[in-house]
Symmetry: C3
Subunit: 481 residues, 3 copies
């Protein structure tokens, strides 16, 4: 199957890549969202992606919305429940518990919700309604890739978020200065002090004066989509009173898009039955969900019973493991079929202290790396042989490695853990050193003549490194720039 | 299967949508063509589509041509026969009847032709030669969507029409003022009086001075493609005399591209054997045509025996029906397999007086709505919660509803009928109110906390409207702006 | 299956097409490379392709590289061996021969290499490492299409070449004046005398001052990708000494990217077992390579055992043959499955003296024609009926025929041979004259009325030419302009 990603650009000159902090912060009642919004001509725009990191406080509810492009989320920390509303799918979850006032039982039915926890990947298809709730006792931190260049996003390459509740117009939004935000992990949900004085109320600030470029993000600052409909029409179609319609429109709502929900009881199947074993334990469910009656015949057979989350962090599922170096795990559409729809995949990497991720390139995808802990020194080399990045990437930073660009990672003293999102549902890497590298695959004659080296040197290039992808640190300490 | 539509734009800011009359009219000998040509930055350009409405008089022949992008046609009125020339397919129709002079029989053989009538959808694949003939006794009116952003259109996102006969250079073409043409349905084939004085002859008018933008349309004003070849080469390759080549080039032809064909006998299978039952009565044919010997092996197995038309109007095939509100029917690639090639689908909607098409959005497609009778008030809301359209759409007007934008329709006093073309062969809508809406799929806890409403209000939002997609009018009359 | 090619342009106005010589020459130690680089708005840019013709001297080695977009190569002359390094595939070729000094045996193992010769098509997937070696006794001449608009090229529509060895920065590169290079076939690897005086050394010439447009090509002028990595890191990851790393980086290498390799022994299976019968003799291998265990599960099942070359020139495999006119052969993804991955196909055509390739158009692809011997007069007609090309195309020239544009070829006195690359893995042509043309498929009534001709003339148009695609020259000599 061919990937059908759209190149947003006829030309994209990448001379320098930056390890980026988020460049925009939006505070909500029960959390904070930090955005990596592409600037003109930077490598995020070239790769056709955006990112956001949500911190959702305990009892925080991320209001329901549908995105114009698919999103892939990695749960850095915490646990919660996720709902995805698939049109045409039945309400298969039924709940009942004693009502609040003690007078009888309370019933509800709704579509499937699922639990997730640290280390899980959540697939959020384009156009589908999502919400999430933190029912744990510590903040959820999640990093979300938005694939604006995905073919699912037909109108243009802008990410649009259609809220079904709330009123993000009244949120506090300010653009953090790029590079100014050297905020640590622990204070991540603190916005910079300048700009906080206005509180959570609507400010009639002029929209950012960067010309038309950041419209995509500006559009997130509007009201929910019900506010554009006539009150009477909404009363009609829902058959409810004016007061309910007024609340639906949320025009006086200034809680932001992560709201405090203190009374929130949603029943999910027993935790023990699922959790991190989910992915492996139910292959037949995933299968039948997707391939059902032979030819897939539409949206509901495809998705109603599909798995929308899978675990990426479990060490026992590692694809690459070197006890002296670290490990890599990946989720592609073979393991996690819904990725076939999203045309995205993800990799989790862990390097121990000073270990090296051998030089490689992504053959058929861009890679967007987010460091979840520790730090790594990266070198990224473009096709003319020049390094477009040679620096450390630290916890909380995000960096784009464009397709085919060569990259090497060396963990710092505290080691390094990261998640990488890839713009292909079956991303392939090609190693430039180590046991799986191209030098092994080349005849010695080619090495001897290409590099003007002796046959012994050729043999050493091919065979001196017995390790594969993740290399243990060597005794010699590398020169740090 | 992923849709592979091309986004024409890196950014497409849609702040206002217009219900459009055609903005260009071309008269021919036996009919008139009215075009919706995108202007710079309007919603037609953003959606990557154009449209044309042909009125073909009785005995009118639309000359053979091939388009650079796929077209999907809906027959608003009338009936006729359609020929599609598929390269590599056999001439399977043989006809014989007494020759005109009475001296013996006349034989002919040619590729399949098929009859169509009011309510049919015709699929016109890109690059394939089409012609059509009105053998009925009243004008055919057809509305045609041209999907210029389709991947089949490799060169750019301009629609190009390659005529094989005629000489459209000599047609009268003038650009109707946008919005000035409040012409009724009955005089649709009347061009505005200014500009008609020159009659059907060539005018050496300067091409429209809008810069390069409308080139796509200008290119339709040329001669047929044989006129670019050397006379001698054409005599050689056809082995015919100079006179025939001169006629082939059609350089003195000023009939336009819909010509009068008084003697026109083409035999098609008995009407009774097909017609509006066509689509349902031969599922095995459609199947075998497409899936033939397992792996499809090329163009001719795919298309030679494929159905190229299907009925969309038959009430008994409705997908959604509410006897107090109206009905909806759709044709997607599951029902009408050739749509898989075109990556388009269509929907027919009928709303009774004052009935409501509940708020929804198109999850994976743009929708291009053409009102075939009556009128509806529409509200279209974009992601920032603002209405980009809030007005009536009347018979003969066309409006674009971009992907993910929320829309509600309420029929006027005469009811409303429309056809909607969608830029996905399996277009999905997601309801925002009614029995299938997202509110039913959400846990009450989410509604309570999202909208800051009571549990009773949440229940009323979820369950007060028992109807689904098409809602009956309520006693209260909605406020009209 | 839908083709998923990207249109690089929202508008592409093609008013004139040029038969092009290469517009840039790069000399290497053991060969020369001549490039067809798109200029602003020309038909190469519109078609989203580039081309290069390599001349590789005997014992010349084209250094290993990986391209950002797929390439399809036709071997015009000579023979050699090709290696393609597929990540994750095993080293299945083992060789042993007496070592040079006579002391014992020498062993090596590496991935599959294959022999090719004149008339073969080689498939070079994007992102995959390739090298080639001339072990014959005459120069290899190969013409290579680079599909920059292919979806595999995610970053933009620039072709990027990532060298793994050598240092193309030190090559001599100059841009030949377009149209100035009327060099004959025999001196093809001679660069124009202006600019040769500097010899093979690095010149600190200013990069071409055309603004940003030719960056793609400029980027080929860099060093190999190892030169961007830190010396110490490379020593670490390969576990080799500094001297080897210095050679890996190739910074003092000024041999260009085709180098002299005098000692080069690579064993391939007996020539007799393969060669030009390869393609037909092993259908089961090709099949199983692609369809392996039912559902393809990733890169290595897809490609490890795939055929990457196939013969296009063998007369006995012709698809169209007229003993008085010539023949055509094509390779599409049905015959040569890896083309499904590349989304490209190729056609080989041979016209005898004065024979005619009947008018046709490419229904679903652009066609990039390279004349390998002789010459043809071509007429290319666009949709407005005007000829955008009407001239001779000679040996060594390349011309683009855009999708849907009508074209006729008439060979000159020496006949004409060409290879055409097509931007669809299952390219379809539609004939405008001859036994397979649309006139046969149309009812006579349509011809009579479309061209205002008699029934006899219609019959002559339909049936006078009994030949199909390749037409024998007629007695009358066509008028030459």
């Amino acid at each position: 199957k061919q990937q059908t990603r759209l190149s947003g650009r006829s030309e994209c000159q990448i001379d320098r890549i930056t390890a980026r902090e988020p460049n925009r912060v939006v505070e909500s009642e029960a959390g904070v969202s930090e955005f990596w919004i592409p600037e003109e001509n930077d490598e995020l725009e070239c790769a056709g992606v955006e990112a956001v990191r949500h911190t959702i406080n305990p009892k925080g509810l991320l209001l329901p919305y549908y995105p114009s492009a698919p999103e892939l989320a990695y749960i850095v920390r915490g646990e919660g429940i996720q709902g995805t509303v698939l049109p045409g799918c039945p309400e298969t979850f039924e709940t009942s518990f004693p009502s609040e006032g003690g007078k009888g039982e309370f019933f509800d039915k709704h579509q499937k919700v699922y639990r997730y926890k640290e280390g899980d990947i959540l697939a959020l298809p384009a156009g589908v309604v999502h919400w999430t709730y933190n029912d744990g006792d510590r903040p959820i931190v999640t990093i979300v890739l938005r694939d604006t260049s995905n073919v699912a996003n037909q109108l243009d390459r802008t990410f649009r978020k259609f809220f079904l509740a709330g009123n993000s117009q009244s949120q506090q939004g300010q653009q953090g200065g790029r590079g100014q935000q050297q905020r640590g992990q622990e204070t991540r949900w603190e916005v910079p002090s300048e700009g906080r004085t206005q509180g959570g109320k609507r400010r009639d600030e002029p929209r950012r004066a960067e010309g038309g470029r950041r419209r995509g993000q500006q559009e997130q600052e509007g009201s929910n989509i019900f506010s554009g409909f006539d009150d009477q029409i909404l009363q009609d179609v829902f058959n409810v009173d004016y007061e309910t319609v007024r609340q639906l429109k949320g025009q006086n709502d200034n809680r932001g898009f992560i709201v405090q929900a203190d009374n929130f009881r949603v029943i999910t199947p027993e935790k023990q039955e699922q959790g991190r074993e989910r992915q492996r334990s139910s292959p037949s469910r995933g299968q039948s969900g997707r391939r059902g009656g032979g030819v897939p015949n539409g949206f509901d057979e495809t998705l109603c019973s599909a798995q929308l989350s899978a675990n990426l962090a479990n060490p026992t599922h590692a694809d690459v493991y070197n006890p002296r170096g670290g490990r890599l795990s990946s989720l592609n559409s073979h393991k996690f079929p819904v990725l076939d729809l999203l045309q995205l995949s993800a990799e989790r990497g862990i390097l121990y202290k000073n270990a090296i991720h051998a030089p490689y390139y992504n053959l058929n995808a861009h890679s967007v790396i987010y460091v979840t802990s520790g730090s790594s020194r990266l070198q990224i080399v473009k096709n003319d042989g020049s390094a477009v990045f040679d620096d450390w990437v630290r916890e909380g930073q995000l960096i784009v490695v464009p397709q085919n660009f060569a990259v090497v990672k060396k963990a710092g003293e505290e080691g390094c853990e990261w998640v990488a999102f890839k713009t292909n549902d079956n991303a392939i890497t090609s190693q430039l050193a180590g046991r799986f590298s191209f030098v092994r695959a080349l005849p010695e004659e080619v090495l001897v003549n290409s590099y003007e080296i002796s046959r012994e040197q050729a043999k050493s290039l091919k065979y001196n490194r017995q390790e594969g992808v993740v290399l243990s640190p060597r005794s010699t300490s590398p020169r740090e720039t």
